[in-house]
Amino acid sequence: MFSHEDSERIRGAFPELRERVNGVPLVYLDTAATALRPAGPVEHESTFALTRTAAVNRGAHTLAAEATEAYDDARATIAKFIDARPSDLVFTSNATESINLVALAFRLASAVGAPERFALKAGEEIVVTESEHHANLIPWQEVAKATGATLRIAPVTDGGVLTVGAVESVLTERTKVVALPAVSNVLGIVNPFREIADAAHRVGALVVLDACQAAPHMALDVTATGADFIAFSAHKMYGPTGIGALWGSASVLAEMPTVLTGGSMITRVDYDSADYLPAPAKFEPGTPRLTQAIGWADSIRFLDDIGMDRVAEHESSLGAVLYRLVSAVDGVHVLGTNVGVERVGLVSFAVDGVHPHDVGQYLDSKGIAVRVGHHCAQPLHKRLGVDSSTRISLGVHSTLAEVEFAVDALARVRGFFGVA
């Protein structure tokens, strides 16, 4: 875990941690939903907006040229963070849109039967897992419904573990896509994505990795993941809302049909046809997310300055304590095991006799911000025998004191609601 000094320095970067909520200091344990923002990146973004706003890729004047450069630099910074080439990194609005771009490419290709790799037909199969966020499930349901392909669900164990074997059990020669989360946003368990990607590739399927809960919490090398596509969002990485990314391997992006079209993605246009630029431009029509890209790149530099290995170590160590302490509270049941798995700093749980909304409200009254509900994973909750849960998730600014404070409060919830 971070030393006290390091922790104080990191916390100092987040003005929101000095806010009071309901008259008490904020204890923010909802990073998995949306991360807080460090001051430096936000201030830089706003200074840029106020002094360097201009059209990217569209102007010859000095400000426009500077904006274009700043935008390209931002992409390079973000790409480097995941060991990717800038040209393989497509900006989107959020991870949901990243996944949808791929899913829509499948739907559009299927409608016209080409390109082959993206064209699905009845009898072919799409594999997702039982631990999917709605963002990596519903788009594939729609693809299946529209194309006649079959959606197959790789099961998790009662402890929430996704094994390579479980995925292999639903893989066939007809599988064309395998979608899975790198880390479940309900369980916090790190899935064996490399091995699953290898298994998927053995049957010739494309692999879509939802890295929303991985990218902010561990060093990620896109090639090492084995995936063909990786989706993630800035706002979970201490960056702005309104921007996310789809990484794709160069050859797959080259084959993938465009989905959104318009300006800034073309070479030649006449009234009845147009020629497109290569990736990433071919997937990014219209005025780009200029200040958001700049803000995100700065938040990436903020993480890089700490070092992703140290971030991962801090959060998973603290997460292990969190898991142990929450499990020990009377009447509290944690979703997902901690045995034989790697985990990030995230724990979801049910409280006997108290609905998550009420648990969350009680904690909120102590200044503790947590997520309650189904966390966009209704099917997984049902699979694990509950409708919803309360989730505590950690960030770079989380401390042992905060974890202990939250668990203390949690221990008083059932008493407050008269069910202890």
Partner: protein, 148 residues
């Protein structure tokens, strides 16, 4: 905001008592979801033969103390109302819930439901309190539609 202004004892009591719980008659239930938490309710308003009066409310579902207590109190308080009375009653309740603490429900008129007045200060919970009411209004519409 004081937590106690939200969770009055009477609310926690209704959360356990659940007046009207269990769907035992044929009717026109309305199924409503709270998209944030996946909570659901299935609720039907039983009307008199001429469709003018509420004979009872039956419901089933899962949810937080606020949504369940609201359903339970609604079942308890609305019995015997005419449709016109109920519509006014529901309108007043909705207005209070949306008032951000401005409107306190009258205990004479709203009975136990008055204890839900505090919910309106907790904007995120208004949906919980309204879930049963949306279902009730929908069920009334469905039921009356079937009478015509």
């Amino acid at each position: 905001m004081e937590l106690e202004s939200l969770y009055q004892q009477i609310i926690l009591d209704h959360y356990k008592r659940k007046v009207g719980y269990g769907i035992n008659h044929g009717g026109h239930p309305s199924h409503q979801y709270n998209p944030t938490c996946g909570d659901e309710i299935n609720l039907q308003v039983l009307l008199s033969a001429d469709g003018s009066t509420i004979d009872g409310i039956e419901w089933e579902g899962t949810g937080c103390s606020i949504s369940q207590a609201s359903a339970s109190m609604l079942a308890a308080e609305s019995k015997g109302m005419t449709i016109d009375e109920f519509e006014k009653f529901a309108g007043g309740f909705r207005e209070a819930m949306r008032s951000r603490g401005e409107i306190v429900l009258d205990e004479e008129e709203y009975g136990d439901l008055a204890s839900l007045s505090g919910v309106s200060k907790f904007v995120a919970r208004v949906k919980c309190a309204m879930l049963a009411w949306v279902a009730a209004e929908d069920s009334v519409t469905l039921t009356r539609g079937s009478l015509n």
